[in-house]
């Protein structure tokens, strides 16, 4: 999901992540409203917010342990998964540290590790690479690719256009709570006759006044939404 500041990316991702209530509209999962199957939906969902909402009272490894237990993973599975993620995100040095002792980059890695602890089928990452060093950013891209290859749906909000172009199967551009376009990067570049996604985005931003809401043509397997706010999408859009 792309968009200028205030476009509604965080609001929409928070609504899909069920941490914010929708004022109207619905989110459909398996053809049914997530609000009618909230607990089941949350079990397959991993939401990583923009601002780390880490529990400051327990250590990194305790936090990961509980992140698994909350989702009813077996104790053996929890321990195994925790070890995997600690290694994967390079958190070995900080397992007994409280989150307040972590730097911004490590906090972000820890937050993503916690999000992935229960092996969610839908992962929402809200601006996960903001403020990260380039090598950590590259590593995170690898993680996202692996998740995608493993059949996980990743909903990534970002304002880095290179990131969106490299990682996305489909790109959604939001403006003032409305979906402007939703298509593959290749289709967008072809349709707008541009070489880079960045040029497409700049073109869209420049011609916002004339742009009408466009509906999507293809589908992400895990999820579809109808409008999250009255103004957001006028018709049902399958993400």
């Amino acid at each position: 999901m792309l968009g200028v500041n205030g476009a509604g990316r965080t609001t929409l991702s928070s609504i899909i992540g069920t941490v914010k209530a929708a004022t109207s509209g619905d989110i459909l999962w398996n053809g049914r409203s997530v609000y009618s199957q909230l607990i089941e939906y949350r079990r397959i969902l991993g939401f990583c917010p923009q601002i780390p909402n880490l529990d400051l009272g327990i250590t990194v490894q305790q936090s990961l342990l509980f992140a698994g237990r909350f989702f009813c993973l077996s104790e053996r599975d929890v321990l195994q998964r925790r070890a995997e993620l600690i290694k994967e995100f390079g958190l070995e040095k900080y397992v007994d540290a409280l989150p307040s002792a972590l730097s911004g980059g490590y906090k972000q890695r820890f937050l993503i590790a916690r999000t992935l602890m229960h092996r969610p089928k839908l992962v929402i990452l809200d601006e996960p690479t903001v403020g990260l060093d380039p090598h950590i950013r590259q590593h995170l891209w690898e993680v996202i690719r692996r998740l995608r290859d493993g059949g996980v749906t990743v909903l990534l909000t970002t304002h880095y256009l290179d990131e969106a172009e490299i990682l996305s199967d489909r790109v959604c551009v939001l403006d003032a709570g409305k979906i402007l376009v939703l298509d593959t990067p290749e289709n967008l570049k072809r349709n707008y006759q541009k070489d880079k996604l960045e040029d497409v985005f700049l073109h869209l931003v420049a011609s916002l006044a004339e742009t009408t809401v466009t509906t999507a043509t293809t589908a992400i397997p895990a999820l579809s939404t109808t409008s999250a706010t009255p103004e957001m999408v006028e018709e049902e859009v399958v993400l």
Partner: protein, 269 residues
């Protein structure tokens, strides 16, 4: 798999999540246990030394003020401890909002908030309970343990601390936009001052029947009277069961109102 067994499995998983949330809160508390116990011992010791010995000397030996204040102090320890959580939560709302993680767990949000309130209740109960032997050591012969009705005391510990937990949650829910110092001075302070900590409800009634009647809407009155009825004997205090039932009623009201207000305030599903 039948619908019933699916539902049963679903309910079980929600309970497991709630249980683990409680366990996580206890893990955080365990790290602060020693520090909180030290704080409580200092508080109880000061109150007993001043009221049980110095003020006792000043007012004469007609009444045994030490145990009266000890029980009041133990009863109010939980109140002050859970009120500390209010500040933590308000700070969290305007900062990292860790509450959003708790509220996105696979369980109903009302249950998540209730687990938080219950965990606050249990942690403060642990601190309060452990001050009873400290009080006995400090008062020694002045405090007779044989007159305590332990099962009534147990009930009162549970009812009062549950009330403290949900009352704190309710305070969190009403504090949005309000100045915490103003709420402290206008709500907490009058509740505590008229909460029968320094005197019994009966004494208050002898001086001002109107004020003591109005004071029946003050939940701390039931906490203090209930504790004293369980530990110092029923005579001179409100009937124990009235205190217990009233506290459960206040707890229910605070829980319902707090969850409803927080839902609007935090805009969660």
């Amino acid at each position: 798999m039948s619908v019933q067994s699916v539902q049963k499995k679903h309910n079980l998983s929600v309970l497991i999540t709630a249980g683990q949330l409680f366990r996580k809160e206890m893990s955080s508390f365990y790290k602060q246990l020693v520090s909180k116990l030290v704080d409580a011992v200092i508080n109880v010791s000061l109150m007993i030394i001043v009221f049980g010995y110095f003020i006792q000397q000043q007012i004469g030996s007609g009444n045994n003020f030490g145990p009266f204040i000890l029980i009041g102090t133990i009863a109010s320890l939980g109140f002050w401890d859970t009120l500390g959580k209010v500040g933590d939560m308000i700070t969290d709302f305007s900062g990292p909002r860790t509450i959003t993680y708790t509220l996105s767990l696979p369980m109903p949000s009302w249950l998540a908030l209730s687990v938080l309130a219950v965990s606050w209740a249990v942690t403060s109960l642990v601190i309060s309970c452990s001050m009873l032997p400290v009080g006995k050591l400090l008062l020694y012969n002045k405090f007779d343990l044989s007159i305590i009705s332990y099962w009534r005391l147990g009930i009162m510990f549970i009812c009062s601390h549950l009330f403290f937990g949900f009352f704190s949650l309710w305070l969190v829910s009403i504090l949005k936009g309000a100045n915490i110092t103003t709420v402290w001075l206008r709500v907490i302070n009058p509740l505590y001052t008229f909460g029968c900590f320094w005197y019994s409800w009966k004494t208050m009634g002898q001086i001002s029947p109107v004020l003591s009647s109005i004071n029946l809407i003050n939940p701390l009155v039931y906490v203090m009277e209930g504790f004293r009825a369980a530990t110092l004997g029923q005579e001179g205090y409100m009937p124990f069961w009235i205190c217990a039932v009233a506290l459960l009623g206040f707890t229910f009201l605070c829980a319902v109102d707090a969850i409803s207000r927080l839902r609007k305030q935090l805009d969660f599903v």
